[in-house]
Symmetry: C2
Subunit: 429 residues, 2 copies
């Protein structure tokens, strides 16, 4: 054990920061014994220095975040304040001052990752961000280190616990979307304004980070094609169940060619029940990785929450402290430019349902529209709805552009009353 | 990119070694670009230098393994020959010569890990062994690094693909044990002599390694309580299915107290169908980890095979090469002494089935034996078998010692014809 402590400056002390302080207090001695790294929190920047914070000496608190960076007694900086600014500037300043940074900030990493990595690499210090995706699940380190020799082809994950909880309740309890959302809100899984979760913004940021690390190319959140789950109906889920599928909000990053050209998207999808991701229930997260040599991997766990996220921050902090002490340089990824594959070019199977007038000839007309756009139907189911009928289709593999054109043409038909959800279907192996 | 290559000496060139050479040939340039590490295989020790090995220059081959260690052009040693000796001596010699070692040798790590880590630590060089458990699944690095700040309470895994394949076929196709074993043999999943797999020896070695790393204490394969799957019957599996369970061969390592006292065992168990490990099918492996802060994690993938295992070796090799180049010291775990918790003290629910004469009063006698040993019955099912009946019990949580005493007493009863399998039951959360 190296006797002199590694001194930690904390930017932010909310849910994750508070849990981190608790964890260091509880596990610090054991960590020192196991790893030789003795961590000591010496400075904590918070908005409100007057608020009582059990276990954190009031003398450590400051409202001046910049002073944590410049404080010569701070060896390593942990950023858990969230948001883009001032987090971004503070991290850049810390790296330039030669201080390793550990961050849990997905929004920042998904918008400015390339610049931050370049700053870390330039300064020769660590920038670690395990906690930015998948909470406590080891994802970034396995991708960067364990799979450093692997040609990764696809990363597909359930990376938002709120939406997975809602979809699980819709599937297992037959709840409607609004009922399941209200339940998630009452349990604290969803916020009063659930937009960031249910419309896929949170998942899109995580998809951008995963794509960047898996393919070594800068992908930002706005590169990600995005659809949420707020239009998924109980009928969609019941149909999926009958056909051997579950509906999950998936974040998918695929390598199209070595350029690299990368396809990145977030949308609800029908997943075969036998797929390992299909059994990821409630608010759990998991990421499924396909590599040329390693085959299929899945990493599963708690994707959010103060303690699981703090556990990931602490793992990074020990790593950064070890590297600082041993003089070993970290391995900052240097991200090249990525070409983003247009969503129009996606090839997938599709589920779609439309409501039509229940009269002779309608199905032939509808089928004709599919055919005219080169979209081949794999299966069709018709159910009566009074004077109407609901037609539910699963297509063979088709091009997104052609399916969208089919939908547009269907909307123009007199006999079509409503075009329902379009869901991509993940094919069984 | 550091221009000078890191030169690799290989001990052994079978399934994994051959795949590693292929992988370095295919991915070497990409690895150099991504990580700055340029790997070059310069020496390969094999038993038969005359055998043609596509892609490996005959000039690299030698039958003298020791010469690979002493060769001054070899920077890093990869041991994929297997077995205890000469692998152990060669690794110790390499470490003493200041050469980092990457090994896939579970048998060796499960018997001499403590000594090998001490040698690595003494020499200040890396000894990496990701490939020794779970093939290509990132397990050892997440446990050692991502979870360095975590107080791990339990590690429970499906770590043998052969037995998982056999149990999957028995569950899904209703096959008998001998049929499923023959099928596994015909597919190359099981060896002609399947003992090491089906009797749990392979899983016990992996359990010892996982326990050592999770709890920082030296556990060897012979410390592990071990039962195999060869006595599991189609009737056991059918009953499990009716009750909402699947039967899996589990490797379980639990921290009993911080001493540390560690319980480590391998045996078939009934696992609730809702448990994440329950959906691990065919020859896949997965390890479920429970930590105080992080909660539940699962790491899933291909637990064997040349390419997946070589992928893990390559990840370690890049890590070792990076540390060698950057001057960063690796983090060799220093394992303390572990007290092994006796199996007799296990507390679990149990499944057991017995065949009895079908006459009045027998159930009362049998139930009396349970009661006399303080074992409480949670559920009982009786099915007729001609003149006999099969009684199937699941107990409430009981102590292993008391259940074994119950079994011994049941065997003494005249009315009991046969005492069938005893399976531990993993409780649902």
């Amino acid at each position: 054990v190296n006797a002199s402590p590694v001194r930690v400056g904390l930017l932010g002390c909310g849910n994750v920061g508070g849990a981190l302080c608790e964890l260091i207090a509880a596990e610090g001695a054991a960590v020192a014994q196991r790893t030789g790294v003795h961590l000591q929190v010496v400075r904590v920047a918070v908005r409100d220095v007057g608020k009582p914070r059990p276990g954190i000496g009031p003398g450590l608190l400051t409202a001046d975040a910049a002073s944590v960076i410049t404080d010569p007694t701070v060896d390593v900086v942990v950023e858990v304040m969230g948001g883009i600014e001032p987090a971004r500037s503070l991290i850049i300043d810390a790296l330039k001052a030669g201080k390793p940074v550990v961050t849990a900030n997905k929004e920042l990493m998904a918008s400015a990752g390339t610049d931050l990595f370049a700053a870390a690499s330039g300064a020769g210090v660590d920038l670690l961000f395990e906690a930015s995706v998948g909470g406590g699940i080891p994802l970034i380190r396995p991708l960067r280190e364990s799979l450093a020799g692997e040609s990764i082809q696809r990363v597909m994950g359930i990376v938002n616990g709120t939406t997975n909880y809602i979809l699980t309740r819709m599937t297992e309890a037959g709840a409607r979307y609004d009922e399941a959302l209200a339940e998630a809100q009452s349990l604290g899984y969803a916020e009063a304004d659930p937009t960031a979760d249910v419309e896929g913004f949170d998942a899109a940021a995580k998809a951008a980070i995963l794509a960047s690390i898996a393919f070594g190319a800068g992908v930002v959140a706005t590169d990600v094609y995005r659809e949420g789950i707020s239009t998924v109906t109980a009928a969609d889920i019941a149909f999926a169940d009958r056909m051997g599928y579950v509906v999950k909000l998936l974040a998918v990053a695929e390598l199209i060619d070595a350029g690299p050209t990368v396809a990145v998207r977030v949308h609800p999808a029908m997943l075969p029940k036998t797929h390992p991701l299909a059994s990821v229930r409630d608010s759990f997260n998991a990421v499924f990785i396909e590599g040329a040599a390693v085959g299929e991997l899945m990493l599963y766990g708690r994707g959010a929450g103060g303690m699981p996220t703090a556990s990931a921050v602490l793992g990074d902090l020990i790593d950064a402290a070890h590297n600082l002490r041993s003089g070993g340089a970290g391995r900052a990824p240097l991200l090249g430019h990525a070409r983003i594959w247009p969503m129009d070019e996606l090839r997938s199977q599709y589920y779609l349902n439309i409501e039509v007038a229940d009269r002779p000839g309608v199905l032939a007309t509808v089928a004709g529209v599919f055919g005219a756009h080169g979209v081949s139907i794999r299966s069709m189911e018709q159910e009566g709805l009074g004077d109407e009928a609901r037609l539910v289709f699963i297509t063979h593999t088709a091009r997104e552009r052609d399916v969208q054109a089919t939908l547009a043409a269907l909307r123009e038909l007199d006999a079509v009353d409503r075009v329902g959800n379009l869901l991509r279907v993940v094919e069984a192996d």
